[in-house]
Amino acid sequence: MEILKGIEMIDLALYIKDSKILILSDFHIGYEEELNKKGILIPRSQFKKTLERLKKLFLKLKENPNTIIINGDIKHEFGTISGQEWDDTLYLIDFLQTKSEKIILIKGNHDTIIGPIASKKNLELVDDFKIDDILITHGHKIPPDLKKTIIIAHEHPCIGLTDNIVLEKYKCFLKGKWNQHNLIVMPSFNLITEGTDILKDKLLSPFLKKNKIETFECFLVFDKIRYFGKIKDLLKSKIIKRDIY
């Protein structure tokens, strides 16, 4: 399904058809390790899941992209990098390099020391990336030069749907207007957590903070991409009253 003309949503990724650019974001490799350090002893399955999901994504894509852009936060930890995180990140890049010759890393807020990895693998490391009238940037700050269409990540948007008995969260894409620009927010590829529930949580990106998020449209990522209309309509949907403990 296209989110804007020429930009297709494929699972958790965006694909710019003309220039064959695949955009992925927010892998947060090392997330479980970080949780383990905090005393949350969840077994590690993130890396395995990520690779499996990527393989399926490339099957859906049917062609190999010219360029793969990682729109920030490939790894999770600020300031340091553990052995495990280093190995996993390199392995992930190796895998992506089998699919495309050109990999570009966009700096995210968690990527303060991504330099060594980029140079080891000869990757371009940039603050943002422009092509035609599209700007791709992580979204934790607003870059000086903007384009008609802006693609950001960082927010990890998801939507919690509930009938008040069952609550399920789904990752989603968002599309709306920001100062005359088209703004697209992409979901994270962190498969351990769904992300920020845009129906209730405080938003992080300066692109969204003071914006009327209610007017944005959302696209849920499930078995396929499903259009869910405007957020304000989701907020209005009928509540159901019942006892809970």
């Binding site: 005393g39 949350i40 590690r44 008040n164 008995i165 209005k236 019942r242 006892d243 809970i244 403990y245």
Partner: protein, 876 residues
């Protein structure tokens, strides 16, 4: 053998067992033994396990301690008192601990004074050995609040009587030096056992006691309890098993020695006709009258917010009589300092009235109370007795309780509580069984103590009554979990808490931090997770986390009587906007509801059936005199009950223990199926979720549930095949259906977090970090997904499901109901109706509560009621 103690010992028999000094002290102080003391002192002297159930003020504590003090004085006289702990006293309440210490130190001091007052000759007569004025018996409190220096001094001079909590006892069991001091314990007293036996704190304690027994050999176990049933099971819980056989225990049943003066009171003459104002005026006038006629009154409400409202309204309506100086609120969300202040002023007799939710039910000494008022039903006979038992400080005083009822269902419920209390039928508690999370914690603790063969651990665990039926498979699953088998081999070191060697079948501790992690993370009480509500930086109040899960941006809700609009959440804080000028969209009455006990529900149902029989055959006078004979209510109340049942009888059918009524009723385009199943909400939760699940599975649309103790409503915007749904549920498959129905629910996720925390999969305290409950909740979402992937039989996941189905809900009795329907012991009656029947009114109202103000609610009921009356008279 568990047996009831029937012999009362004579003064002579008891005194002859006591040390002369203790004997003299007792004689001077009390003159006579109280009932529980007559039964128990001698048994405890003989080191027999004893469970004592008696009301407050009956000398319960001394019935446990007298023999022990006597023994210690004996030892002291012979200079044989060693530096070790002889008696451990465990109480679930930290606040109680200081009281007990005071109550023990006082007699010891008095005895010391007695010695010094004795003439020289008498002194020689009394004891040849005691020359000094000091008995040398030490009593200390050790809890989580005890300072490190105090703990260190306990190592040098150990207390002979140690006063502690279940959690601190479990930590003491792995403390390398302190453990040594408790390794020859002779007695263990478990106080307030009624507040432990039905929850995981009690389960936890039951394993600690078995671990203590491994350490110290056999010791005498003494349980102290307020009103509770069944005493047999509580005794089994206290003493555990030996080689698969129940250990012996004597039960001292003095639950009913206090005389009861109970009444059901209606604030107005005609409860259904009264306007909101009349009802409210009536309520506060009657409260004022009762408070004025007594010295100190204790009022119980069922919720914290109601507590605040009553305090506020009393001061508002009677500003000259009631001020912050003579009345106050006491509930669990108030600060420790505030509660302590209220307790102190209560003890000193400075307060006319205290209003509490549940926090004053437990036994801290609150001084002289001469009246207990119960606002709205306490939902169980035992709870009613515990609350009322707070009055009448001396044993000879009557315990005086007044149930103030607010509607007709309340009236019937309270009338039956009163009947059961007077006729000594106490509802039964359920003791949780095979809790795998608590088990994991203890196996970890045992492995820290020393290397152990798993066979030894298994047999230790099975000595606890709570684990007597634990399967080998479940036990091994927990061992596997603890040894980190769920993670792939390369990372196992992160997850393994113990090592397990399958060849030698031994387990032992892993990691240098094991003891610290254990000591800082054990316990069974889940972290309370309150979300702070703010406007900017200004704090408005708190809501609980379950409530936040229901909120979306723009939702309107009520907090502390004010209306707010939800803006967004950030961690443990939410931002709101005041006065949005729209009515609430989310109800707020859910979290604190006490469930009606199953036994009481059945008792109501049986009464319904009896009354139906009378209505069929007898005149009004005969029926009225039956109500009078059966219930202990006044004329007004009996008449209200008569009218209520008569209306239901004429309008529809009276549902009862052998008849379930389902009413189909349409309102504003929604189809409702009203199930009259008065089994209490724990059973109704199972029934309603299972049926709703079955319908939504076969019909592919969502069904809404409204739930109360008296029944439930399923509703949808199209035709509901509710009867078919009910028929789809087979008793044999109920558990499987319920498992599916609760999967992915908020309730299961929250309970899972508690279980993960108890099993130490989430460490609340880790390397100096303390995790907030909110942080844990985020992680538990991740964790539950991960556990699901490992196996649906992963012990923590399994335990969370068990806890929801057995502890929170009541699948056992729900299954019984379904079975009775299958066997046609319970008939099903169907009715299509344009108006909900009188019995359904409160249930229907529940669906709209909070969207309507209290005034509108009464209006609605009255309007409906008049329509019903009109219809009945037309039918005649």
């Amino acid at each position: 053998m568990i047996e009831l103690q029937r012999t009362k010992y004579t003064d002579k028999e008891i005194y002859s067992s006591l040390n002369p000094l203790v004997r003299q002290w007792f004689k001077e102080k009390f003159k006579d033994f109280s009932e529980p003391q007559r039964f128990a002192i001698k048994n405890i002297h003989n080191k027999e396990n004893t469970l004592i159930s008696a009301p407050t003020g009956s000398g319960k504590t001394l019935s446990a301690f007298t023999s022990i003090i006597s023994e210690l004085v004996n030892l002291s006289e012979k200079h044989q008192l060693e530096d070790k702990v002889y008696c451990i006293y465990v109480s679930p309440l930290k606040a109680l601990n200081n009281d007990i210490q005071r109550n023990l130190l006082e007699p010891l001091e008095e005895m010391t004074t007695m010695i010094s007052n004795l003439k020289k000759k008498q002194k020689e007569n009394l004891s040849k050995q005691i020359k000094s004025k000091n008995l040398g018996i030490r009593v200390s409190v050790r809890t989580g609040d005890t300072s490190a220096s105090k703990k260190a001094s306990m190592l040098k001079k150990p207390p002979h009587i140690l006063i502690t909590t279940p959690e601190t006892l479990a930590i003491a069991l792995v403390a390398p030096k302190f453990k040594y001091l408790i390794s020859d314990v002779k007695w263990c007293i478990v106080d307030e056992i009624h507040a432990l036996a039905n929850n995981k704190r009690g389960v936890h304690l039951s394993l600690s006691l078995e671990r203590l027994q491994n350490l110290a050999g056999r010791f005498c176990r003494i349980g102290l309890s307020a009103t509770i049933s069944p005493l047999d099971d509580v005794a089994k819980f206290l003493v555990g098993l030996e080689n698969g056989k129940q250990r012996d225990c004597k039960i001292v049943d003095a639950q009913f020695i206090k005389k009861l003066d109970l009444k059901v009171v209606s604030p107005v003459n005609n409860i259904i006709e009264a306007s909101f104002k009349e009802l409210q005026d009536g309520l506060y006038n009657i409260l004022d009258q009762m408070i004025s006629a007594h010295k100190t009154t204790l009022i119980f409400t069922n919720t914290r917010s109601a507590t605040e409202r009553v305090v506020h309204n009393l001061m508002d309506r009677f500003p000259k009589k009631y001020t912050v100086n003579n009345i106050g609120a006491h509930h669990s969300s108030l600060s420790k300092e505030h509660r302590f202040d209220i307790e102190e002023r209560l003890k000193q007799g400075k307060l006319r009235c205290v209003i509490s939710s549940t926090s004053l039910e437990l036994g801290i000494d609150i001084g002289h109370i001469d009246l207990v008022i119960l606002l709205s039903s306490p939902k169980s006979v035992a709870r009613a007795m515990q609350r009322v038992g707070r009055s009448g400080h001396k044993l000879l005083d009557k315990a005086k309780g007044r149930f103030v009822i607010m509607d007709r269902d309340d009236l019937v419920e309270c009338a039956l509580i009163l009947k059961n209390a007077l006729e000594k039928h106490i509802d039964n508690i359920d003791i949780p069984k095979n809790c795998l999370d608590v088990l994991a914690q203890h196996i970890y603790g045992i492995a820290i103590e020393s290397i152990n063969h798993i066979e030894n651990i298994y047999s230790l665990v099975k000595r606890s009554y709570c684990y007597k039926d634990l399967t080998r498979e479940d036990f091994m699953e927990v061992i596997k979990y603890l040894s980190g088998e769920y993670a792939s081999l390369e990372y196992r070191k992160v997850y393994a808490k113990i090592w397990y060697d399958p060849d030698t079948e031994e387990v032992g501790k892993k990691g240098r931090l094991a003891r610290v992690l254990y000591s800082t993370n054990i316990g069974t009480i889940p972290d309370e997770s309150f979300i702070t509500v703010k406007i900017g930086n200004q704090k408005i109040g708190t809501i609980d986390e379950g409530f936040l899960e229901r909120l979306k941006k723009g939702d309107i809700f009520v907090l502390g009587g004010q209306i707010y609009e939800f803006k967004y959440a950030r961690g443990m804080t939410i931002q709101v906007k005041a006065n949005p000028g729209r009515p609430p969209t989310v109800p707020s009455w859910f979290s604190e509801m006490l469930p009606l006990s199953y036994d009481l529900a059945l008792s109501i149902q049986r009464f319904r059936r009896l009354l139906e029989e009378k209505l069929k055959k007898q005149t009004k006078n005969q029926t009225m005199s039956f109500i009078h004979d059966f219930l202990y209510v006044d004329n007004n109340a009996a008449n209200s009950i008569y009218e209520y049942f008569k209306e239901q009888y004429l309008f529809s059918e009276i549902p009862h223990d052998k008849k379930i009524l389902i009413e189909f009723y349409e309102f504003q385009g929604r189809k409702n199926a009203i199930f009259h199943t008065c089994f209490g909400r724990r059973v109704n939760d199972v029934l309603s979720r299972s049926i709703a699940y079955a319908i939504s599975r076969t019909e592919h649309f969502n069904v809404q549930i409204t739930l109360t103790d008296n029944g439930f409503i399923l509703s949808a915007d199209r035709k509901l095949k509710a009867l078919e749904g009910l028929k789809l549920i087979k008793s044999e498959e109920l558990e499987d259906i319920l498992k599916l129905a609760i999967d992915k629910t908020e309730t299961l996720k929250r309970r899972f977090r508690h279980c993960a925390s108890r099993s130490l999969m989430i460490l609340r305290n880790y390397k100096g970090h303390r995790k907030s409950a909110g942080r844990q909740q985020i992680s538990s979402q991740i964790l539950i997904n991960a556990c699901r992937e490992i196996s649906s039989n992963f012990p923590i996941f399994k335990e969370a499901k068990r806890e929801v189905m057995q502890d929170l809900m009541d699948i056992k009795n729900a299954k019984k109901v379904i079975k009775d329907i299958e066997n046609r012991k319970i008939k099903i009656k169907i009715q299509d109706t344009k108006l909900p029947s009188p019995f359904a009114l409160n249930l229907v109202m529940r669906g709209y509560t909070d969207l309507l103000k209290m005034e509108d609610k009464l209006d609605f009921i009255k309007r409906m009621h008049n329509m019903i009356l009109a219809k009945i008279s037309l039918g005649k």
